[in-house]
Structures are given as C-alpha cells and as structure tokens.
C-alpha cells in the first residue's frame, strides 16, 4: 500500500503546487458506498485524480461537467482528495463517513469459566458498516444472553467510537452460556462453557475386605452442586505400617475409587486439587 500511496501523495503535492482557482466543488461529507457527484467549472479536458485512504483513481474528464464517482470508489471511510489538472491543477477535499451499522466483531472471553465467578466474563463488540468501516457514531448493540438453565435476557450496550463491552459473572449452574450480539441484521453468537468449580464437601467411604480396602467417594460436586467432570483427578493417600501409598485416579461417573492393600491400621485421606476431603482410620490385616 505504501508503494502506491507514497508516489501518489508526492504527485498530489506536486500538482497542488501548480493549483489554480477552485474548479472542483464536492460535498463536504459523503456516506460510504454512495456515489458522489463533483461539479467542475471551466472548459476543455482534464485529468482527474481521486486519492482516498485505500484507493487511488485516475481518469480523463471534461471540465464544466459533473464528475460522478462510483460507489465502489468511496467505500472506505476517511478523507478523500479530488484533483483535476489541465494546464494547471485544482483540488478539493471531502470526507466519507461510515455507512449504517451492518456487521459485528464479537469477542467473548474466556471460553471456559468456573461457575459463580464474579465479573469473569467479558463481552466486547466492534461495530462496522457493510464495507468494514468502523462505525464511530454511537450505535446500540443488543446482547441476548441464554443461561444454562434456560432463561434468556437481553442487555443493551451503546457503542463509543465503535466499541461496546460489558462484564458479567458466571452463574451458579454449569453448562452452555450463549451470548448473541446483534445490531441491525447482524447476529454474532458465541458460547462459553461454565464449568464446575473446586470440589466441595469431598467425602469417601471405605469397604475393608481382608487385607484390602476399597475406597469410593460420594458423587463429587462443587459448592453449587455441579458435578465435577469425569477425568478430574482425585488423590487418595494411605499411611500404614507399610508406609505411604498414593494414587491419583480420575473421576468416573461422578465418583472416584481406589483400592489399597492394608498393613495394620491405616489412615486414609482424599483430596481433589487443593480441596481436602475426609480422613478415615481403617484397621486391616486382621
């Protein structure tokens, strides 16, 4: 882009050095994607240049007639410069404003969040027109939030310089939290997985049988009652005459289980991450 713009700007500056009285008359502002007509004065043929933020055009025109600039040539918002050169050059400047909001970019962060976590979810929407120009004027974006247990609510956000955002906490129930950002006909859905938090009230029971003991936890849930997902690691530790034994075992169907050989009386404890469970004393070997 630099390779095109730099010589054009040099050319424009050079041409303007020879600028004569105004022969071009353009509207001050134009909406992106709308054709624009520039009136000219004088006679004879001239070369017309249009320099925009992302486009440069050149063609021959007749002075005294209106110059029509196609919609595609003014799709990008920004400052445009129109230059007409015959024996000398004349120029005018006009601004192309973004069109009506038509597109959204929507960031929802994070993609997974533990339940009951205050202000852990951040939703940010960027508003663009159909030509991907950032719509700088204030616009209203609706966020339709569908919670894991079904209810839907809507939250509105007013953009400032094309951006609107909000934070919210995760709800106590795990599952799929969907947020759809909408403006005009544009809808951008995103999904967050609300996942169980740390284990709460971790409890196991022991079933000694001869020299072995089978251990099984109750269904492992967080403090809001959500079951921890299968595969979560639970650590069992047994201390008896034979020493210390540990096993990290994953939760299967909401429960974790393990089996140890006993050598005399044993103390057995259970933990899941940093959450500690109950401790049992089991007499074995008899």
């Amino acid at each position: 882009m630099h390779r095109i713009l730099t010589p054009c700007i040099v050319l424009a500056v050079g041409l303007l050095a020879f600028a004569q009285d105004d022969v071009l008359h353009a509207p001050k502002t134009v909406t992106a994607g709308n054709s624009v007509s520039i009136s000219t004065s004088g006679q004879g043929s001239a070369t017309f240049y249009l320099l925009g933020p992302s486009r440069v055009a050149k063609r021959s025109v007749q002075l005294g007639q209106d110059i029509t600039i196609a919609a595609n040539d003014v799709a990008s918002s920004g400052i445009y410069q129109a230059i007409a050169c015959s024996s000398s050059c004349s120029s005018t400047v006009f601004q192309v404003l973004p069109a009506a909001p038509a597109r959204l970019s929507f960031l929802l962060h994070p993609s997974r969040v533990p339940v009951s976590n205050g202000n852990a979810i951040n939703a940010t929407a960027f508003v663009f027109d159909r030509y991907r120009n950032t719509v700088l004027s204030s616009a209203k974006v609706d966020f339709h939030i569908t919670l894991p247990d079904g209810p839907t609510m809507t939250r509105a956000g007013q953009t400032s310089r094309g951006i609107t955002w909000f934070e919210m906490g995760s709800t106590p129930k795990q599952g799929r939290l969907q947020i759809v950002a909408s403006i005009a006909d544009a809808n951008e859905p995103r999904v967050i997985q609300q996942v169980a938090s740390d284990a709460c009230h971790l409890h196991m029971t022991a079933s000694p049988s001869g020299r072995t003991v089978k251990l099984e936890t109750d269904p492992i849930r967080d403090c809001a009652g959500n079951p921890l997902p299968d595969g979560t690691i639970v650590s069992f530790t047994k201390i008896d005459n034979a020493g210390r034994s540990t096993v990290d075992t994953p939760i299967k169907k909401d429960k974790a289980s393990a089996q140890f050989q006993l050598s005399g009386n044993a103390r057995i404890s259970v933990a899941c991450g940093v959450a500690l469970g109950n401790e049992l004393s089991v007499g074995g070997g008899q």
């Binding site: 540990t246 096993v247 994953p250 940093v274």
Partner: protein
C-alpha cells in the same frame, strides 16, 4: 647360522605382538576375564555386561538359583521399550563389604548412561567360590507374571478437533487455567533451586512448562531457567505436580526476587493409565544416603515404557522443602509393582514431615 636370521625375525615378531597386546589392554582384559578373586569375578562380570557379552556374563553366575539366561538378559538389558533398553553401562565401582570362607559380598555402583541422563544403580552382589573361580549369585529376576485376563479400561480421553477460525474472535479456545500454588527458593551448595507445586485448575488437560527468572536488586534479569523434566508436564484436571528449577552456580544473596511463569497448552490427553505409588518409606540405602523407596503399580492395561517418579517433600508447616525426581528403568507391565527410589539431600531429610509422590509416564504409541 643357517636359520639365525629367521629366528631373530620370529622372536622380534613375537616381542612386537606381545607389546601390542599389552598396549591394547590385554592385561586388563585378562584380569577382567579372571575370576580368581571375588573382585576379579565381579569386574569380569560387569565388563561382560558393559560389552553386551551376555553368554559369558551368564556363565559367571552361580546357577543354583535357576536363573534363566533370557530372564537375566531381560533384566539387565531391559525389555518392552523400557528406559534400560536405551541405556548402556558407562562405568562401575566396586567395594568389598563382607568376605568369609567360600562366600563374599561386594557392593557395586553401576553408572548407566541413558536417554534421560546418567542413572546410578547400587547393588550388593553375593559371590560363592566354585573350585578355583568365584561365581556371582544373581537373584532370580522378579519379572511380572500376571495371569491372562481381560481388563476393561474406560477412562476418558480428551481430543482436540476442528481448527482455529481465520475470522477474528470467532474460534478461539482458551488455554487451560493453571496456578502455581507454592514456590520456595532454596540455596544448595551447588546453586539455587526454585521448587514448589503447580495445579491445573481447569476442566481440560494441560501441557505445562514452568520457568523462573531470577531478578537482581535493580529489577533486571539475572538468569532464566525452566523445569526441563523436573515436573509432570501433562496435567489432568485438578492434578497437582511438583516442579524444580535448578540454577547452578547462583547464590540467594544475589537475587532480589523471582519471577515465575507457567505456560500451559491445550493438548489431547488420556486419563489412562492410572499409576499408584505404594509402600513409600524414607530409608537409608547401602551407601548411607536418605532415599524415598516404594513401588509403583500400573493399574491399567497398557504397558508403560518409561516411568518417572516425582516427589514433593514438605516440612511441618506444609512448605515444600525439596522436590526430587527419578526414572524407573523397567517398563511397567500392567498390575506388576516396580520398585523406585528418590534421593533426598541429607540436610533436607531431617526436616521432612510429609511427602507426595506423582508418577509421570511415557508410552510408545500402540500400533
């Protein structure tokens, strides 16, 4: 006179051959081949192991224990893709321990060079005199003998599917949430050690690396290192791993603070295999070192080729005072216990109140 020149040439050739034999270590080899004393027998035995001369090494065993050659070779050379199969005996040291009429005990320290560094194996070898030679009494290898059975394995695995979208903000999945739950800087005679524990707080598996940057008093970095293999890199949800980062040659007085960085990646993983660490006890080994001994049992159905044991040791306040790691050079066959040992520095051993062991594993992809 007629054959004088011929005799001179024959004698000179013999002298040169003899000199070459001595120069090439012939005397040493002969000593190693000899088994006239217990030490010579062990030296010869270990030289054969070093040279993978299994037939001769096996011939030096006392066969009253009915050790099969295949079992002996399997124990020494490794099998099933174990770490020992990637190792070779680099050097050995021998000390006499006990000797009496016709019997002797020698202590050997075998230093194996392996794919993960050098590994020490200290054993007491008993010998018995058999005529003019000494024979090594090799204990019958305790190879796993699990009866044929069907073991249902239905642990979870996590797969990553799809691909990242090119559209901004549409297709990203966050990396797992991990947390360094403890960190302790310990000065050792050979340098500074950063150790502690890290937890995968998320509901998906993480591949994790932890690095530490030592900062000087002016806040500029002094040195940076990562855990290398002193961590269980793959952490399942809510799994806790010890970590240790070594800074050889650095002193605590030169360090103002330490910046920790845990870098998790979202990876596919399996909850299988489950490996238990059983009967752990802190004891003294034959060399008087404090070690944590125990056995690990692969409770799943697939062979674990290489296992690594990581231990976090806590003081009475629950603070991590040491993290040790060691590899097990045998493959873990399903349901078969395999011994392990972790070295503990003597000054740390006296402060240990509790410990927690984690087993890390590497398995070759199955066909």
């Amino acid at each position: 006179m007629k054959y004088g020149l011929a005799w001179i040439l024959i004698i000179a050739t013999a002298i040169l051959l003899g000199a070459g034999w001595v120069q090439a270590g012939g005397m040493k080899i002969r000593a190693e081949r000899s088994a006239a004393t217990p030490e010579e027998a062990v030296r010869s035995f270990l030289a054969d192991i070093q040279a993978h001369n299994w037939d001769h090494a096996y011939s030096m065993l006392d066969h009253s224990h009915d050790v099969q050659q295949a079992d002996f070779v399997r124990e020494i050379a490794g099998s099933d893709g174990s770490l020992r199969t990637y190792s070779s005996l680099q050097s050995y040291e021998i000390w006499p321990v006990h000797a009496e009429s016709g019997r002797a005990t020698l202590r050997v320290r075998m230093n194996w060079s392996s794919a993960v560094g050098s590994l020490d194996d200290v054993r007491d070898l008993s010998l018995v005199q058999d005529g003019n030679v000494w024979k090594v009494i090799w204990p019958k290898p305790n190879l796993a003998n699990v009866p044929l059975q069907v073991l249902p394995v239905n642990y979870l695995r996590w797969d990553l599917i799809g691909r990242r979208s090119d559209d901004w903000g549409t297709g990203s999945v966050d990396t797992p949430q991990v947390r360094i739950i403890s960190m302790n800087a310990v000065e050792r005679p050979d340098g500074l050690v950063i150790l502690g524990e890290v937890e995968n707080e998320d509901t998906v598996p993480a591949y994790l690396n932890v690095s530490a940057t030592l900062l000087k008093t002016d806040g500029s970095p002094l040195a940076q290192q990562d855990t290398f293999d002193a961590i269980a890199h793959s952490l399942l949800p809510k799994q806790v791993s010890p970590y240790r980062i070594d800074f050889p040659g650095y002193r605590l007085k030169d360090v103002k603070s330490v910046r920790m960085d845990a870098r998790p990646l979202l990876v596919p993983a399996s909850a299988d295999p489950v490996i238990a660490a059983e009967n752990q006890n802190i004891e003294k080994d034959a060399l008087g070192r404090s070690i944590l001994k125990g056995s690990i049992v692969n409770q799943s159905g697939q062979v674990v080729n290489i296992a690594q044991v990581l231990g976090a040791f806590y003081d009475t306040n629950g603070k991590v005072v040491w993290v040790a790691n060691g590899y097990v050079d045998q493959a873990l066959m399903p349901q078969a216990p395999v011994p392990f040992a972790l070295d503990i520095p003597p000054d740390v051993a006296s402060r240990i109140h509790s410990y927690h062991v984690v087993v890390n594993h590497y398995s070759a992809p199955s066909a």
